[in-house]
Assembly symmetry: C2
Homo-oligomer: 353 residues x 2
Amino acid sequence: MSNWEDYVRRVEPYVPGEQPKKEHMIKLNTNENPYPPAPGVVKALREMNTDLLRRYPQPDCKILVDAIAEFYGVKSEQVFVGVGSDDVLAMIFLTFFNDAKPVIFPDITYSFYDVWAEMLRIPYETKALDEDFLIKKEDYYGENGGVIFPNPNAPTGILMPLSEIEDIIAHNRDVIVVVDEAYIDFGGESALPLIEKYDNLLVVQTFSKSRSLAGMRIGYVMGNEKLIRYLNDVKYSFNSYTMNQTALILGAEAVKDRAYFEETCRKVIETREWTKKELHKLGFSFGDSKSNFIFAKHASVPAEDIFEALKKEDIYVRHFSKERISNYLRISIGTKEEMQTMIGFLQNFLAEG
Amino acid sequence: MSNWEDYVRRVEPYVPGEQPKKEHMIKLNTNENPYPPAPGVVKALREMNTDLLRRYPQPDCKILVDAIAEFYGVKSEQVFVGVGSDDVLAMIFLTFFNDAKPVIFPDITYSFYDVWAEMLRIPYETKALDEDFLIKKEDYYGENGGVIFPNPNAPTGILMPLSEIEDIIAHNRDVIVVVDEAYIDFGGESALPLIEKYDNLLVVQTFSKSRSLAGMRIGYVMGNEKLIRYLNDVKYSFNSYTMNQTALILGAEAVKDRAYFEETCRKVIETREWTKKELHKLGFSFGDSKSNFIFAKHASVPAEDIFEALKKEDIYVRHFSKERISNYLRISIGTKEEMQTMIGFLQNFLAEG
């Protein structure tokens, strides 16, 4: 018999989160934006020149890169785009984390960092968050092969002040420091201005949350021109045409509408703050989320019981069975109406219990 | 000063082919299809439910995988899709080529195989095509860490008979054999039926050529269910959501229209055969291409001179400076009118010379 199986790269089979498809469900489990993308995006889709479909897209993604650079006031040479921030982050791991020393990141954090490290055989080490789920900056001062953490952190939603982030960068000038800002637009302060001061800093963002385009898979990273050039070299060698024509066109359109973007973020933040107050009244506790979700535990009722009760009502939130956080629920911020429905149900459910 | 640059993964900076954007150019340099995708594709784009834009796409790409499986009469569990066949092929290298023995492929072939091997630090060895640019099957019988070749081969366009491919597979039951069939629909015989007989065979195809969707970045591979499961495990670990909503919807729509697909391929084949006759009259020689391009050299005029002369007329073909093939031009098959224009110009140019 054949033995090709001996040489298969074995990975922990990752199971993507539930994608229920019920008509009237309330989907608060994947941190999607409850509002549609900017009106110009749908218009661009409907009016798209369909002769582009048979043509290869721009390998340099110029239309999208230029739009992002313009929005943030950086040079186009300081922007790299990919198929969601997962693609961008995986390319960063592949390009920059080649040292024998371990890459370091928090123990409770975005669940893909250790997966990429294992897949690409990169050594890594995790640093425990403190008892309030805060990152302890001093943990990141020692020798290492690179540093990565989200800000706000996932799934805690807790923001780190920019001064502490700068301390971490300043202590790590010999390696690449990656700040993963998927949720920065919901009240956080971006590390972006620091890319002019530190040539080893990469700031990663995404269109999946604040730009309402999870379905189009667009992520990007900003940093100094040399870092971006290295990323492009690796990307061109891997797959020159990753961003399809619709992603380029709709992405560029989404980033142009600053007023709509700000208005959408403001609404999500307002609803989040209202939800925090209501959850607090119901006996939940949580860190001060600056993201589009709340990571909460209840004083007496186990997270799993609440998760199951909500699910029976077709209200989907996220529960992780991982140590330290297994009694927490991650609740994405939907529309005000959706959150009212959820709070209304919890009022009854917790009163009964 | 910081020394993070010591740990950057260095790659040969790949330069993607020219993408000129002149109004009236004739673009015969990237093997795109001259005809638009099936009419249903544009309709699906115009009528797409735009609420999907803010939602993550199906991680299992079910709508597209099912449509491909239905077209080819295989099970959905035998189909894996990716962001163009480059993404699919890179995932195959990452998943299956982990042996210390070298992966083998032809010296003249698709230019990404050695790039992926180098990037992923996979040992490889090339086998020289014979003097007529044919693959010598016996070269692939020795011990190795995997086998990959395109059929028809690129950039020669020459097809290998299925019986010889089966010989190669049968001699390599302990490793994965990948047949890269990007151009198979233009007159070749696919190795697809052999996936039922050989559990170590992967057949890769793409929507970029015969399906007229280069702009949407859709590739796929078919093989036995175990192979596809391993690929999905690696893909989910790398980036769970690679195919965006429009790629899933338009791809599924494109594959449904068998009549349009067959008609388009037939037209490309007819134009190719007409072009062959005309090129032959003009003093060109070439292998018997079964792809949507012709790889030709002229009896007396250097390829580079013809390339430059065509370019001045805004007719773009492809020229590779690589050894053994530097006196050849790769000419994609456009519409009959485009080929007539090119032939007309060459008649004058070569008569003058």
